[in-house]
Amino acid sequence: MKTGVLTYPKLSEKKKKRGRSGLERVVFTIVFVVFAIQSITLIFPLLWMIMSSFKGLLEYSAGNAMAFPKKWLFGNYAQAFTTLNVGNTTFFGMIFNSLWYTGITTVLGAFVPAVTGYVMSKYNFKAKKFMFTVAITCMTIPIVGSTASHMKIVSALGLYKNPLYAVVTSLGGFGGNFLVYYGFFKSVSWAYAEAAQIDGAGPFTVFFRIMLPHAVPILTTYMITGAIGHWNEYQSIILYLPNYPTLAMGLFEYQSNAIRLANYPVYFAGLIISMIPTLLLFGLFSNKIMTSLSLGGLKG
């Protein structure tokens, strides 16, 4: 008796869309309208902030909030660089702090879990199962309130108010990213490594030259999303690096300190300047970000 697999003819995109029933078309239309309204509510305040950043202080605080600026003050952006200072740190200083903090935490945060994910998925050693179980268990234990202890240990290690804090605390390899790398490297054939080993390659060469390049898409995605996240970080800077204000932390402090005196149009200009790098990154890599992440199950 012949056995076979039932196959279905492929439907084209157009046919798929045409194939929607009347009810489905109604549902899609309603969802489209809801999505469109939500998009407008998200975009409109942003445009309002951009518009307000070109107003004069008096026009902003006493004029019509919805009106266009009488005179577009592009100078507000230049003024942001000279007046938005926090303590002894200038706006340029904050940009510099954001750059080194983001650079260090992004690169290490993306690379170290790749190392642990690779070793744990491709090598067998005695403690492996135990380590994997511990890593998964730690992810699911809801620990509350260890910030105080973390602060004490950071201080004891001399990392408080020290740029090395960014390096040392980014060396963790068993967080959520570890699982993604673990799953990825598990799916990469070991035959590549065997071929290289026949040619005399050692484990370091195999990892850096053969296996890591396979993970470049994930590595890139984590670099981009990590860079965006770290650039926007402010709480950990307030806690551990208060003397190195980044743009996000510095602008927050500036507003908090000058709540009644703040020149909001200039402040908005500063906020918009601070958004440019992340928006640029997203603009350049949005397709990559949107398509390359997946998360499997958590089985301890």
Binding site: L23, F28, F32, F35, Q38, S39, L42, P45, L46, M49, S52, A62, A65, V112, V115, T116, Y118, V119, Y123, M139, T140, P142, I143, V144, G145, S146, T147, A148, S149, H150, M151, K152, L171, G172, G173, Q197, G202, P203, N232, Y234, Q235, L239, A248, L251, Y264, Y267, L271, I272, S274, M275, T278, S286, I289, M290, L293, S294, L295, G296, G297, L298
Partner: protein
Amino acid sequence: MIREKMKLKRKTKDLIFICVMLAVPVAHWFVFWLGVNFNSILMAFQLPSGGWSLLNFKDIFAEFGAIDSEIRIAVKNTLIYFTKDVIMLPFHFIIAYFLFKKIRGYRFFQIVFYLPAIISGVAIASMFSNFIGASGPVGVLLKAIGVKEVPEFLANSDYATKTILFYTIWLGWGGHMLLFGGALARIPADVLEAGKLDGVNLFQEMFLIVLPLVWSTMSTLLILIMTGLFGASGPILLFTRGEFKTTTISYWIFDKVAYQGVGAYNSVAAFGIIFTVVGVPIIMFFKYLIEKIPTVEY
């Protein structure tokens, strides 16, 4: 003999490689996970001046029982944000599903919904608080429709938490979009086409075919949300610094550590221990329940 020697050499090389590569992350785990949490337990039973005591716990429970207790407000608000996170998860799945089904303008919606994750929280919170302020567009609109006294939404105990909650929901449409998007993209096209030819409608496809296929992602996210039970919060620091009855557990902890100094560390540790002890069995039970639901391998 030579082959055995080579095998041994390779094994040694591999062992060195494993040790070198794992040394730093393992040391990091020992210091910043095990060390931090072990130290947290010790700190909970110590006084700031030194010496062992249960006073930190006593103080926390006394504060919890007080009228208008800040801790009680923190717990209540945290549970509100946590409930929101759980309710929003299926909503995020539905949004991701329609984007996956390439609803008209899906690329534009994807980008716009993901924007809040790109833009600095400081910038977006500042924009929001000025936008809804009495002299901002919302204030102007409310005055135009006859509201005489426009409330200060973020400086009023009746509105502040609701306003921050609204803010998190409003901005949260793109939540988990990448992970759901990734899971949906892996679904074999044949499965959906077969369903279509068999006459399944949109809702059957969404809940009976697609949902089981992305269940591993959904269940993992659900477990992660559960794990963050007592960490659920809005951007309290950016809006109110915990005033106007907006504080949450995570903000309460942050505030104590950042602004009240070393003297508050021990009570923070005791506070943490109490909620960890309460949280662990709840989370483990839910994790057990969630994992009972079988996942589909494909």
